[in-house]
């Protein structure tokens, strides 16, 4: 009997669900629970990777109907290459993060019970696998909610702090507003597919076969896009992201940022290319424009941060934007009947999905290691960690290079492909698009360059220089589980960067099934070393040669220069004769981003004030400071999102006001409630007799 990939995938989900049960049983012996459960999660991830890789590699579609769920509404499962690809993305990071977690979660031992963390971790991963396997609207939404609810509890894990509870609540609200939009969209599609006669339309197969009227299809798509955009953190629906990701435990942040956001990308591709599959160009233009805004705004917000994990969370907004640029272009090209270009743009978007999962996972794991060792997230207080945490420093650097889109690592490959998609675009029959495409290329370039600046800042203030904090804690390198998780992720980043041809050949079946065009015939035509998206005369890139060449030149120069031994003198740093240099005089994250804050300041709500106070021992309220007097200098900077005041605050205020109105109905007396029931029955009898 042969084992079908879909059976493997289901096995992986069951393994995770059994981990949940095991968590309940084993909660007495916490240390064993960590090893067993994360080992189970790692095995489940590996199984999912195999299932997904085989499906994509062979281009096969497996289906299965589970007699679960409601009567006459069974769960439909389907494993096609698109699901398979996302299984691999989720599985890869799931595997690495599970290994990392074996070390990381031990940090909580003795402080609090880790049982909920372990249980919801398994449930969360199972939810993500189920989302990509679902083949009907009902099962999809059930899985979507499992994923959202379990991640809510994970964000809430350290619930004694008020900011964690607030962040988790905000996340839950926005996740559910999104879920409602998705529900409405699926409801509309299902109704249109079965003419509102029966429930038969709820399977994705029925939707695939149905023909939708243009207007209703557009409404359904926009609703679905809104819902998925809320999950993915597209500007202006991004506000939950920088709140929820920093407060979650770092292994969870890695998973949420690295792969949970990707389920939304999966949803957009599934709805647009698979379920509706015929669409006008302006859908793509909307996706492209929102992608561009997210990319640029995300990185600018990130530059303003001095909390390491918040900075990374904003970068997720940026990278989701870059992925959406690829998908938006693919949609535009599809509607203009340019399948090869569409395939290129889709591959660019999907490759960035995979890359972002890897490098963002790596960066969050690195940030987790720093947090684990220093017990803080504020970069202004850090510095010089490269001497005390050499492994973490080197691995975090790999993540920084990858996310800054620098060769030969993986981030560059996908951005390069996106640029190629922009440049290959012919003049289209729409003046708006002819304007949008060059401007889009410029904005993408701006986002990439700003990202590099942001990561020089993040790396420079966290790992380089001297320790900036007032008191100097003892910082130790993290244990081998955490290191191993990060090493594997970093290696994947490098491999995806130097061997893109092989990966693209593997995933080439995706555009073939979605838009009927392949890339690999041209992508690897010049040889596996060179990535040539269209033809080798158009453009070519070889990460492997760049990597080998730079390594070779470095070695050669090093050897030549070290034939004659010259002494290296270690001396104190040159202080220009000032002699009172201290660690607080270094550049900080805030001072590093000051020029950019000044240039792009008009996009933010910035409050900056400087006050000088006399030492409090004098007991006087300070009013004025005269030159020459000793005093404490206080600098306060607050950078806020305009979107919060523009969109969220009014909506929140109105909904609170309405709730308070309705709250008056709640009198707390049984007689009043009996009257309500009575009136309801009368009304029902009158109208629906």
């Amino acid at each position: 009997m042969t084992v079908l990939p879909i059976n493997l995938a289901i096995f992986s989900v069951l393994l995770l669900l059994s981990g949940t049960v095991l968590g309940l049983l084993l909660s007495r012996s916490q240390r064993i629970l960590i090893y067993i459960n994360f080992f189970l999660a790692a095995v489940a991830s590996l199984t999912a990777i195999i299932a997904g890789a085989v499906t994509v590699g062979n281009g096969v579609i497996n289906r299965l109907v589970l007699p679960a769920g409601l009567p006459n509404l069974p769960f439909h499962l389907r494993l096609d290459p698109l699901s398979g690809f996302f299984l691999v993305v989720i599985g890869l990071l799931g595997l690495f993060v599970s290994i990392y977690s074996m070390g990381y979660v031990k940090g909580f031992l003795g402080r609090r019970s880790i049982t909920p963390l372990v249980i919801f971790y398994c449930l969360f991963m199972a939810g993500m696998f189920m989302v990509v396997l679902a083949d009907d609207a009902f099962f999809f939404l059930v899985s979507w909610e499992v994923m959202a609810a379990s991640s809510y509890f994970l964000v809430m894990f350290e619930d004694e702090r008020i900011e964690n509870r607030r962040a988790a609540f905000l996340y839950l609200v926005i996740a559910h507003i999104g879920a409602i939009a998705i529900l409405l969209s699926f409801g509309m599609l299902a109704g249109l597919a079965a003419d509102f006669e029966s429930f038969k339309g709820y399977t994705f197969d029925a939707m695939r076969e149905a023909k939708f009227p243009q207007v209703w299809a557009s409404v359904a798509f926009l609703l679905a896009f809104f819902g998925f955009a809320a999950k993915a953190g597209v500007v202006p629906l991004h506000v939950w992201l920088p709140e929820a990701h920093p407060v979650a435990p770092s292994n969870i942040s890695a998973l949420m940022s690295g792969v949970m956001l990707k389920t939304a990308i999966y949803g957009i591709i599934r709805v647009a290319f698979d379920l509706i599959h015929v669409f006008p160009w302006w859908w793509g233009a909307i996706v492209l424009i929102l992608g561009l805004i997210s990319a640029v705004m995300g990185v600018l917000y990130a530059l303003m941060q001095h909390d390491l994990k918040r900075l990374l969370a904003y970068h997720s907004v940026e990278n989701i934007g870059i992925i959406l640029i690829g998908i938006g272009l693919a949609m535009i090209f599809t509607s203009f009947k340019l399948p090869v270009l569409a395939a290129l743009a889709l591959i660019a978007g999907l490759y960035h999905t995979l890359n972002h999962a890897m490098f963002k996972g790596l960066l969050f794991m690195g940030a987790g290691a720093v947090l684990h060792a220093t017990k803080q997230r504020n970069m202004e207080e850090m510095g010089g960690l490269i001497h005390r945490m050499p492994w973490t420093a080197a691995l975090f650097l790999v993540g920084c290079i990858s996310i800054s889109a620098l060769p030969p690592f993986n981030g560059f490959v996908s951005e390069w492909l996106t640029f190629q998609a922009f440049l290959l675009s012919p003049a289209l029959h729409s003046p708006l698009l002819n304007l949008l495409i060059p401007v889009g290329a410029a904005l993408l370039a701006l986002a990439a360059a700003l990202a590099a600046a942001c990561f020089v800042k993040a790396y420079g203030t966290t790992f380089l220089g001297h320790w900036r904090g007032h008191h100097n804690p003892s910082v130790k390198e993290v244990d081998w589980f955490m290191r191993l998780g990060m090493i594997l992720t970093a290696l994947t980043c490098l491999l995806l960067g130097v061997l893109p041809t092989i990966v693209i050949e593997w995933m080439d079946v995706l555009p073939e099934q979605l838009m009927g065009a392949r890339l690999a015939t041209s992508a690897g035509a010049f040889g596996w070393l060179w990535l040539t998206p269209v033809s080798h005369g158009r453009a070519s890139y070889s990460g492997a040669i760049i990597f080998v060449w730079i390594t070779a030149v470095i070695l050669l120069a090093y050897i030549i220069l070290h034939i004659r031994r010259t002494a290296i003198h270690r001396v104190p740093i040159w202080d220009c004769g000032f002699e009172k240099l201290n660690n607080r005089m270094q550049y900080t994250a805030t001072s590093f981003s000051m020029p950019i804050r000044r240039i792009f300041g008009f996009l933010f709500n910035i409050k900056e004030d400087v006050s000088i106070k006399r030492p409090s021992s004098q007991g006087l309220t300070p009013i004025l400071y005269r030159a020459g007097e000793e005093g404490d200098l206080h600098y306060r900077l607050r950078v806020r999102d305009y979107f919060w005041g523009w969109i969220y605050r009014p909506v929140a205020d109105v909904s609170f006001r309405i709730s308070r109105r309705f709250g008056r109905l709640q009198q707390g007396r049984i007689q009043v409630y009996l009257i309500y029931s009575f009136i309801t029955i009368i009304v029902l009898l009158v109208f629906f007799r």
């Binding site: 001497h387 290329a441 410029a442 990439a448 203030t461 220089g465 470095i554 003198h569």
Partner: protein, 314 residues
């Protein structure tokens, strides 16, 4: 016949390594003559490099491996870039390694690490240099890519060899988009190579340094590598400009006989470019750092106009 491209490639890297200091010497000497000063010899940059190589290395106590690794990396990426840009001939084995987008990214890689090295020691100067350099780069890089995109749209390729072949050996057409792109490219090249009016390569005045502030702590062979790479970068931007906008004279075949002529053309063009740089540097004063935004903003605008005029007019 397969050996010829490899010979040309090696020749080109030798030209890069040896001619870059001479080009810098030429610019410095010209500048002195323009300002009525006596100049040092044309070969002074060579003597500087040799001197740095022979000195001992003095490292700050706090310097990590990044600080020592960066000079080698910067040197390596710059040499690789020299193997990709068609300086003498388009038929290069390395030219398929990276197209022009990847080339810009290679320079970005070198800059990323130089900025990290600036922050490694933990002095205020290093951090200041890194911060300014990355700010300027984040404005210059998109403009640079836009200028290059315009060129590549015209030649239907982002591969530099292809650009040279199409522009240099195709029919001569006057294009408004190319003029905008050239204007933008000149502004950006001045900023990327750290010339007046954005940065001053000759200054060690504390508050005006940008590039120099980052490499202030280097000494001995590390400084030699950094300086040499800096000279090569100026040379490479000049040749990149030649390849994208004035490619006439670059050999189109792997025929070795065409190389001397190409070499002659290169010398003439570089001489003229040096003259242009010196005229700009003598005529303009260095800008305040926050005026650079406007300078690069206009470069970005020109580049975008160039691309728009391609999409709309051509």
């Amino acid at each position: 016949m397969m050996t010829h491209p490899i010979i040309i490639e090696i020749l080109q890297i030798i030209v890069l390594l040896s001619a870059a200091p001479l080009f810098v010497g030429w610019v410095r000497a010209l500048k002195c003559w323009f300002q009525g000063r006596t100049s040092a010899s044309l070969f002074q940059p060579y003597r500087d490099i040799v001197k740095f190589f022979s000195k001992d290395v003095v490292l700050a106590e706090n310097a990590s491996w990044i600080f020592r690794f960066v000079p080698y990396l910067v040197f390596g990426t710059t040499v690789l870039a020299g193997g990709i840009i068609p300086i003498l001939s388009v038929d290069l084995p390395l030219s398929a390694t990276a197209d022009v987008i990847a080339l810009v990214a290679l320079f970005a890689l070198a800059r990323f690490f130089t900025a990290l090295a600036g922050m490694d020691i933990g002095t205020a100067f290093g951090g200041m240099g890194s911060s300014r350099e990355m700010t300027i780069a984040s404005l210059a890089e998109p403009a640079m890519l836009m200028a290059i995109f315009t060129v590549s749209l015209i030649s239907q390729s982002t591969s530099l060899s292809q650009i040279v072949t199409v522009l240099g050996h195709g029919p001569l057409v006057l294009r408004p988009s190319l003029a905008f792109a050239l204007l933008a490219f000149i502004l950006i090249a001045l900023s990327e190579t750290g010339r007046v009016p954005v940065d001053n390569p000759a200054t060690h005045l504390e508050l005006t340094m940008i590039h120099e502030a980052m490499i202030l702590e280097y000494s001995g062979r590390h400084l030699a590598l950094m300086e040499w790479a800096g000279m090569m970068k100026l040379f490479l931007f000049a040749t990149l400009g030649i390849a994208s906008f004035f490619p006439w004279g670059i050999a189109a075949t792997d025929n070795l006989a065409a190389i001397p002529a190409a070499f002659l053309f290169l010398i003439i063009k570089l001489g003229i470019i040096g003259l242009v740089i010196v005229m700009i540097e003598t005529g303009l004063a260095k800008m305040r750092i926050f005026r650079v935004t406007e300078f690069l903003g206009s470069a970005f605008l020109f580049a975008t106009l160039g691309m728009l005029s391609y999409f709309i007019l051509e």
